[in-house]
Amino acid sequence: MDGEMTPAEARAALSIVERSRLRVIEQIDVPGWYWWGLALGWVGLGVITDLGHPWATAAATLTFGTVHAAIAPRVIDGRHRSRQLSVRTDVVGRRLPQLVIGALLVLAGVTVAASLALAADGAGHPVTIASIVVAVIIALGGPQLLAAVRRRAARAAPPA
């Protein structure tokens, strides 16, 4: 370096920095198996609820909640899609876990409301039907949510 740098050279250097940052942002994700597993568990819970055995519903709900609580903290932060790197929290955003859990709570409410509406309409297996609809939303919407998180991270200014 000769001690002098033009704005064009500085801009080129900053674009190198940005390219590297975007390479890391591309790695922000929640594993696909998490969304599919969640969707299958959701449908399973719906089917068991429709069987009409309160003890079975309670046991299944407890099992579902326990398994999810054991797995989710390790994957829903979006920082460990690959075992090759750990994305910094300030790059992903600190609120991703709350966002995912909040979305699941809303979908739980949607499942209950849709089940009640279907039952009032005389549909057979109302909880199963509502759960299948919500499971599709989870399986398709989960990856979309993470894509939105990546776009948001890409737009955010890098810390300086």
Partner: protein
């Protein structure tokens, strides 16, 4: 707000790419850096050694599933130097003048 400080050690393009990759991560595996930046093993080792000697990078070699992995991450000094360097580049682009922010 980070003080602008041009860093000659970080500035070469390959090293800047490596440090910027590490700056957005807690740690990165050697193979990921090599593949993303299309570097040879020896070229990347050389760059990481230079950054390690400067105290900018820490290298760890944990064993997982009977396989030795090489992980790299920025040290606090490396992170501070990177932020200062980026601030210096931004100052030059913003019109503080060519070379105005050079601090080393």
């Amino acid at each position: 707000m980070t003080a602008a400080r041009f860093d000659e050690l970080i500035h070469p393009a390959t090293r800047l790419s490596i440090v910027a990759l590490l700056a957005a991560s807690d740690w990165v595996e050697f193979a990921f850096i090599r593949d993303q930046l299309a570097l040879s093993d020896s070229a990347l080792s050389k760059q990481l050694s230079t950054l390690d000697e400067a105290g900018y990078v820490r290298i760890e070699r944990p064993v997982s599933n009977h396989r030795r992995r090489v992980l790299a991450g920025l040290t606090p000094a490396g992170r501070a130097a990177f932020r200062g360097h980026v601030a210096a580049l931004q100052a030059i682009v913003a019109g503080a003048g060519p070379g105005a922010a050079h601090g080393s």
